[in-house]
């Protein structure tokens, strides 16, 4: 009986996904190491160890840094992964993220009379505006069958330019070409977390992100709504046949995805970490990193949590690598190669299957 249980664990879908994600990471890191060797072989070992150690190299403070960086990308990853489950590609996480970030900062700067509820109002407003940014592509997809990838990309530009415009008009710090600083009441409380992690920027945000992970997990796996959403993602025709209102589900799925990204934007900037939106014509990176996180985490909420932490980990490691004389871009290349291998994880899965088959044969 016991043996049967362990066997079903080793052969379970989830475990296979986990193993192939780990193998993808290992393969990506190997490619990264080769890159380091090529660009500067003398410091390669040192640089590589910096990236592997990530935040751990600088103790609790480093870990706190990792948690802070992980928070927004866990949420954008969750956003993309959630939409994936419904069969939608939410490439608009960046726009939703930026819109949420702007509204949060705006409220943080302007609505000063809210006292203890200030940061909560900021977060809620960011969730709302993110949801609206998701709603538009959702409606267009559901009722007019407009491809969500195109509308989402357009929403990214709208989000970026509208934000830049509105910052200039309302909360512009002309000297530094960025947003003004928010009132300290608007910052998400540290709740002792920042202090625990060596006075880092980590705060309640990571807890909120983890709660979001749990909520999304429960919605997807335990509710009738999640059942409908996943069915819609796996076979839209069958959901129609079963009388499921797939139009409504598509819209809701995009709304929830948008809300998650918007929350991510607020959590990054309402942190008292000295982060500001720079007024530049660049689409927010966190949205695209979210796609990577969702891919690496196989769109599974728990997977997304760990993928987000891992990417934050090597991002911090990449920062440290600069001490060895490597440009931070190398880190981006390594991250990219990990994702690249992640996309090949299907191949890796097949390979594992083959090995297992061969082993089974050997047993008999």
């Amino acid at each position: 009986m016991n043996k049967k249980n362990t066997e079903s664990f080793w052969t379970s879908e989830g475990f296979m996904n986990f193993v192939s994600a780990i193998l993808a990471i290992v393969a990506g890191l190997l490619i990264g190491f080769i890159l380091l060797l090529v660009s500067d072989s003398a410091n390669a070992a040192e640089g590589f160890s910096a990236i592997l150690q990530g935040g751990f190299s600088s103790g609790m403070n480093g870990i706190g840094k990792t948690l802070y960086i992980a928070t927004p990308i866990i949420l954008t990853g969750l956003s993309v992964g959630f939409a994936f489950k419904t069969g939608l590609f939410n490439i608009g996480a960046s726009g939703q993220f930026t819109a949420g970030a702007f509204v949060a900062i705006y409220i943080g700067v302007k609505w000063t009379g809210l006292g203890g509820a200030h940061w909560i109002v900021g977060l809620l407003a960011a969730v709302l505006i993110g949801a609206i940014f998701g709603l538009i592509p959702g409606l267009l997809k559901a009722y007019f069958n407009v491809n969500e990838v195109i509308t989402c990309i357009m929403m990214n530009y709208i989000g970026m330019y509208a934000t830049n415009l509105l910052i200039r008009k309302n909360i512009y710090d002309q000297v530094r070409n960025r947003t003004m600083a928010v009132k300290s009441t608007a910052d998400v409380p540290s709740a002792g977390i920042g202090e625990f992690f060596g006075n880092s920027s980590a705060n309640l945000g990571i807890v909120i992100a983890i709660i979001a992970v749990i909520v999304v997990y429960v919605v997807l796996n335990k509710t009738t709504f999640g059942y409908e959403l996943k069915a819609c993602g796996k076979n839209k025709e069958a959901t129609k046949y079963a009388g499921i209102n797939s139009k409504r589900d598509i819209v809701l799925s995009m709304v929830i995805a948008g809300a998650l990204s918007g929350l991510g934007g607020a959590l990054l900037y309402l942190s008292g970490s000295g982060k500001f939106i720079q007024v530049v014509d660049v689409i927010a990176n966190e949205g695209f990193t979210g796609i990577s996180v969702a891919l690496l985490g196989m769109s599974n909420p728990i997977g997304v949590l760990f993928a987000g932490l891992f990417i934050a980990h090597i991002t911090v490691g990449g920062g440290n690598m600069q001490l060895c004389g490597y440009p931070p871009e190398v880190v981006d290349i390594i991250t990219a190669s990990i994702i690249y291998c992640g996309a090949l994880s299907l191949l890796i899965k097949l390979f594992i299957n083959k090995v297992k088959m061969a082993r089974k044969k050997g047993d008999k």
Binding site: Y227, K230, N235, E237, N245, M357
Partner: protein, 515 residues
């Protein structure tokens, strides 16, 4: 012995699973050799081995007495083996001639030389009495003609050994007769034919010998003339099969479904795909809509079940107008739908069996509380259906639907739909692609519903099914109903004429009974 094909002791494994287990197939020159077996018996695997798509672990292949190694379909072609596929592989905007020479064009300096080809094609057509027009476009000719083009294509390449993969599935009875004649003519000319089918009538009619496979194993080869249908089906299934569907006497009750003047416009053309169709299904009645594939039956069902809106007309279920109701509403009002395409509509293939079994009822009180799924209840329910309907799968309720066999997938759909205590069952080709055992089972279930006083609307392309199961038959041709008959008052030949559109009843005067 002058065997043209000998496949000796072929074993082909996929992992642990033996798809072919020591199978021997010996085909004599100039015979029609039927290959009979249920779905999953290993017929396709065996043919794939013959075509070099799979390499067997054990066994050897001899063609005309010489041992050969077939590594790819090209090798097979060079050995003179050709196949007419179930789904034709023709280019629709090519002419017949172009289709035939495709892949074997005669050229001179890079320029097509069609004259020789035309001569050869016409000769072949005359020789076998194909009556084809080489300049007609493939899209304009009938399905039966398209099949002849496929056959000509094989003859054009001088293939000696022809494999027909369930060739009659798409044909009318008249076309089937003609195909049988052609097959006989081909063997007279010295060709050899392997005829894959699970229709016993056709084997009786045309085949000389028949090899039977069951669950990957070779059961035996018999002379068709010496065996009865019952014996053959027993070899195939491994038990006695009842061909006659047993039904209690027909006692129709009040009308359950009334369709009045339903019209649906086509998506592209101006022609109506469903044109002014009126029909009534009563309690305790199985009404069968017969017809050749593509005459509007699919659209009729889409309109009935709400998958597509209808343009004109009225649908009444138990006295209530449901013309504008949503799919969910119709389903809750007691209309269940066994869909034509079980992979497209019937199942979420990447959901487990239990998840699929609650696809139509997951939102009911029984299975959810405040929006949370009651997994224990779902499991209990799934286990009950699995037992009651004998749905077989590797891991029971947690098996992925994708990994289940076609017959068991269909059983799962039927279990889910019939267990909802329906008023009206709309079953579209419920036994398509299934073997005799499963067909018998599914027909029994439909008849059980009827005997319990439910109304059943059966859409079928198989005349055996139409004649055996139904209480009343309407025939659909080009979107219209052209006949309304009782199975005991009509012959298969007559039905064939209705289906082909050569005979019509005046539907607006008489012919509608039970009203």
């Amino acid at each position: 012995m002058e065997y043209v094909i000998e496949m000796n002791h072929i074993t082909k494994k996929f992992g642990e699973f033996k798809a072919n287990d020591d199978i021997t197939l010996q085909v004599k020159k100039g015979e029609i050799h039927a290959l009979l077996g249920e779905n999953g018996a290993g017929k396709s695997t065996l043919m794939s081995v013959l075509f070099g798509l799979y390499q067997p672990e054990e066994g050897n292949i001899r063609i005309k007495g010489k041992e050969v190694k077939i590594n790819s379909p090209i090798d097979a072609n060079n050995l003179g083996i050709g196949m007419v596929h179930q789904h034709f592989k023709l280019v629709h905007n090519f002419t017949v001639l172009e289709s035939i020479v495709l892949g074997h064009e005669t050229t001179k300096g890079g320029v097509l030389k069609m004259e020789q080809a035309r001569k050869k094609v016409l000769e072949l057509s005359d020789k076998y009495d194909f009556k084809i027009n080489p300049d007609a476009y493939v899209s304009d000719i009938t399905v039966g003609m398209q099949q002849r083009v496929e056959i000509l294509k094989m003859l054009y390449c001088d293939n000696e050994i022809l494999i027909f993969d369930e060739p009659t599935a798409v044909l009318t009875p008249q076309e089937i007769d003609e195909l049988m004649k052609i097959m006989k003519r081909l063997v007279e000319e010295g060709k050899s034919i392997i005829f894959i089918t699970h229709k016993l009538n056709e084997i009786k009619q045309v085949a000389d010998r028949c090899s039977v496979l069951r669950k990957g194993k070779y059961i035996g080869t018999i002379n068709v003339a010496e065996a009865t249908k019952e014996e053959m089906s027993e070899m195939m299934v491994g038990r006695k099969v009842n061909f006659v569907v047993e039904k209690s006497p027909f006692k129709p009750g009040e009308a359950v479904l009334e369709v009045k003047n339903m019209t649906m416009k086509g998506k592209h053309g101006t022609k109506n795909v469903v044109n002014d169709v009126s029909l009534t299904v009563h309690k305790g009645e199985i009404l069968c809509v017969a017809g050749i594939d593509g005459n509007g039956q699919t659209d009729l069902v889409y309109g009935l079940t709400g998958l597509e809106p209808i343009d004109e007309g009225q649908i009444i279920l138990n006295g209530k107008d449901i013309t504008k109701d949503s799919i969910r509403k119709r389903s809750l009002a007691g209309m269940v739908h066994i869909p034509e395409d079980r992979h497209k509509h019937g199942l979420v293939l990447d959901y487990t069996l239990e998840e699929n079994l609650v696809l139509q009822s997951y939102f009911k009180k029984q299975f959810q509380k405040h929006g949370f799924i009651r997994f224990g209840e779902v499991r209990k329910y799934a286990n009950r259906l699995i037992e009651e309907f004998d749905i077989r799968s590797s891991k029971g309720p947690t098996s992925m639907a994708r990994g289940m066999s076609g017959g068991n997938q269909q059983k799962a759909i039927i279990a889910r739909e019939l267990d909802r205590d329906p008023e009206l069952v709309v079953a579209v080709q419920p036994v398509r692609g299934l073997d005799v055992g499963a067909i018998e089972y599914i027909h029994k279930q439909l008849v059980k519903q009827r005997d319990e006083g439910k109304a059943v609307l059966l859409i079928s392309l198989e005349l055996d099914e139409v004649m055996n199961v139904s209480d009343r038959i309407v025939v659909m041709y080009e979107g219209e109903l052209v006949a309304d008959v009782k199975p005991e008052e009509v012959t298969v030949q007559e039905l064939g004429l209705y289906m082909a559109g050569t005979k019509k009843q005046d539907m607006h005067k008489g012919g509608k009974d039970g009203e």
